[in-house]
Symmetry: C2
């Protein structure tokens, strides 16, 4: 099979590229390197079944040329920062909604009809059912990021109906693990490097979140694409547990041997539109045969160890 992975130089994308190559497939990574890293493709580049296409999803003509000849598209590229949507309101529209439309059009023009899409558990807004199943009540969106992912899901589903595509829509919790480049573990570790004696935590630290290890995420993606048969499969990807933000900070501090003074900024939410409780029902995913291998705590510690072993990830981010 010939796979096309948008965001293929990113955290999840590059891990997926490596797994697809290891399974014997041909893989093209498409990335504009706004947050992707050439370093993450070092292994991939050793394969003669790998190609890198440096381009932007907003360049429709280049994208259409790039997609030609592939069997399946994994559309993982996105502005993935849920927090700062209100600082630049058009970023999620452009990089997520319109970019997803461009991917779909590139596929339609080339007769490519299978797509996997990285959506988010944030589409449930402030859910009222926990763990939250895929058919939870029609939610109200609370962030521009989630709004753009809902728009992407809707476009992909409409293309499945209108043009005979098969779609796999993955609603992720936050992912942890090797090549992790942003999120709370990154932020806490960076803050503790700068000041090991005190750390500020957004919100009251009681926010409950679920996280998933990146290889468990990719196991889930590959399981769903292999086994799901519906025209549109929407599936949650998460862990069967959650933790509080303060729990995770505690694990990080213990691993680092630090006991900083913790200052909470207060409030139930870390930022405007933050969901204070994310915990997804993974019964559908498990019914396809998937199993979680790392606990959240293990995934947090592994992520921290990765960042400690790869200081260039933090340094280059700071320089950006």
């Amino acid at each position: 099979m010939r796979y096309f992975v948008t965001g293929g130089a990113g955290f999840i994308g590059s891990n997926l590229v490596d797994r697809l190559l290891a399974a014997g497939h041909h893989v093209t990574a498409f990335d504009n390197f706004s947050t992707g890293r050439h370093e993450f493709l070092a292994d991939a580049r050793t394969s003669d079944r790998f190609a890198l296409d440096e381009g932007d999803l907003l360049d429709k003509a280049a994208l259409a040329r790039a997609v030609a000849g592939h069997d399946v598209v994994f559309h993982l590229a996105a502005n993935a920062d849920v927090r700062f949507g209100t600082d630049h309101p058009d970023r999620d529209l452009q990089q997520n909604t319109i970019a997803t439309f461009n991917v779909l059009e590139a596929m339609r023009l080339n007769g490519v009809k299978r797509i996997g899409f990285s959506s988010t558990g944030s589409v449930y807004g402030e859910a009222e059912v926990f763990p939250t199943p895929e058919n939870a009540p029609f939610p109200v969106q609370t962030s521009l990021y989630a709004a753009s992912k809902v728009a992407g899901e809707a476009l992909i589903s409409a293309y499945a109906t209108g043009f005979g595509f098969q779609a796999f829509i993955f609603r992720f919790v936050s992912i942890l693990g090797e090549r992790y480049t942003h999120g709370h573990v990154f932020d806490f570790y960076a803050k503790l490097l700068a000041n090991p004696h005190a750390i500020e935590v957004l919100g009251n630290g009681k926010q409950r979140k679920s996280y998933l290890y990146v290889q468990d995420c990719i196991n889930a993606i590959l399981t769903v694409v292999e086994r799901a048969t519906d025209p549109v499969t929407v599936v949650n990807l998460g862990a069967d547990e959650y933790c509080q933000v303060d729990d995770s900070l505690g694990w990080i501090c213990e691993r680092l041997g630090l006991t900083p003074k913790v200052n909470h900024t207060g409030g139930a939410r870390g930022w405007i539109g933050d969901s204070p409780f994310i915990f997804l029902d993974t019964a559908k995913l498990k019914s396809l045969g998937w199993r979680q291998t790392l606990t959240i705590r293990e995934a947090v510690v592994r992520t921290l160890d990765y960042l400690r072993a790869n200081p260039w990830v933090l340094e280059s981010r700071h320089a950006a």
Copy 2:
């Protein structure tokens, strides 16, 4: 109050403009006249509280200037044709999703924070609960039109959270009544004018649909905006009944004194992505004090009578 109505020269928009003027408000109609009609604003133009702003929602700078100085925006402009999305896949994205984003940005830049939005019952896709309540299970989209409306709802909700807007999201069934310019009554009447002896009906004629009279629709809009207090109010607008397509054709033929041979094209759906059953739960709307005044049959007949009394509506459409 100063109201800004996008699509103000359209079917529902111009009726809303008239009602707002009758209530003593100042009203600006914004329309690009792609489907809007100057004739529909003949009454409005007699008021010195009315202004017409001819412009396009994709012209962000002009839109931002136009929105300045208003208190409430009713965003009704849209590509409203649910059927032909796959003929021009980017039309719903441009005219609905991106246009809605532009409206929100124009409001944000001008400090205008109240918005009413015409969404659609089509966002429920192929619903599994009837009548369908607002908190029905998170649906899968089946048309590019509904996908664009879901995207619009999500953007508006995210702006409400992120920027302190108050939003009223109206999920309409199909609307009937004076100034109606497209839909099944229009199509059936036009076909019967061309050939009174035979008529083709898309699908098997058994599709079940709910319809609402335009003045009942506007009563509902004004009731919700006056009484709802949440930051985001999502509310169904529909009738407490539904009919089959063949029922409506029967009422039309009876009114016209015709007995044409009816040829069904077959299948449960009239077109790709058509929902074979639309029937919305209006308990929330009624809890705010709204009541339906016309039955579906009365609304169909009134629509037909309007088209018969205003043949220019059909003629000019045919010329377009």
